[in-house]
Amino acid sequence: MVLGVSTDSWEEILFRTDRLKSGLILLADPTREIIDSWGLEDVCLGKDIARPASYIIGPDGHIAWRHLPTDWRIRMGEDEYLEAFRSIRFSGVSP
């Protein structure tokens, strides 16, 4: 399951979801409730948006892997995510 969170409005998100036609679930967080509670707000240039962080959460609800770059130009691609999934061994549960 892949969840994406950003400060975009639902209108924008639903438009994107429609165009991407992928299994990705995009969630709007315009009031930054999720982003703030995760400590991922980035206020550089006064733009209150999320840092480009990625987390893999195991079936038990605990964080198994995270990627939190200090440089927002660094993003993860599909290959990096697949590699991350391969590097994690969940006990008895396949991802």
């Binding site: 399951m1 969840l3 079936p59 605990h62 198994a64 995270r66």
Partner: protein, 151 residues
Amino acid sequence: MASRMPQLKDRLALWTWCITTFLGVVCLLIYLPMSTNPDLEALSESPHPLTAAFLMATVISLVCCKWLLHRSATTQHLASLLRMGTIAAVLGCLSYNSYVYAFSQTLPDSDAPEIGDLAIDFEVTDPDGRHCRLSDFRGSTVLLVFYRGNW
């Protein structure tokens, strides 16, 4: 009065201006379809600094062209066009790169959850009333991605 025959440097100026403008238009034609492409990979690999520089030069050149239409264009005017275009290109390139550099390195330390922590639960509702709660996905693996939006 200037000689009717263009000087070598004027012809150079003219040609350089033509090439800069041509490259700017090419960059624009490449960049515009990319900016509406939902494929993030393609956008992140586009030559942003060069594009910015050439676009800036082209815009200045075209604005100057419009201004020149009201006057008799000489190669000297074109030479000044080239100068303005070049300065704009250099400024565009420098400001773009300094912007990217200055604001990409200054992220403060974060108290974001670490590996092993329990994922902080949240629940959101979309305009159609559909709920999504993180803890609903217990039992399966979740890739949670925070992105900057506006793409």
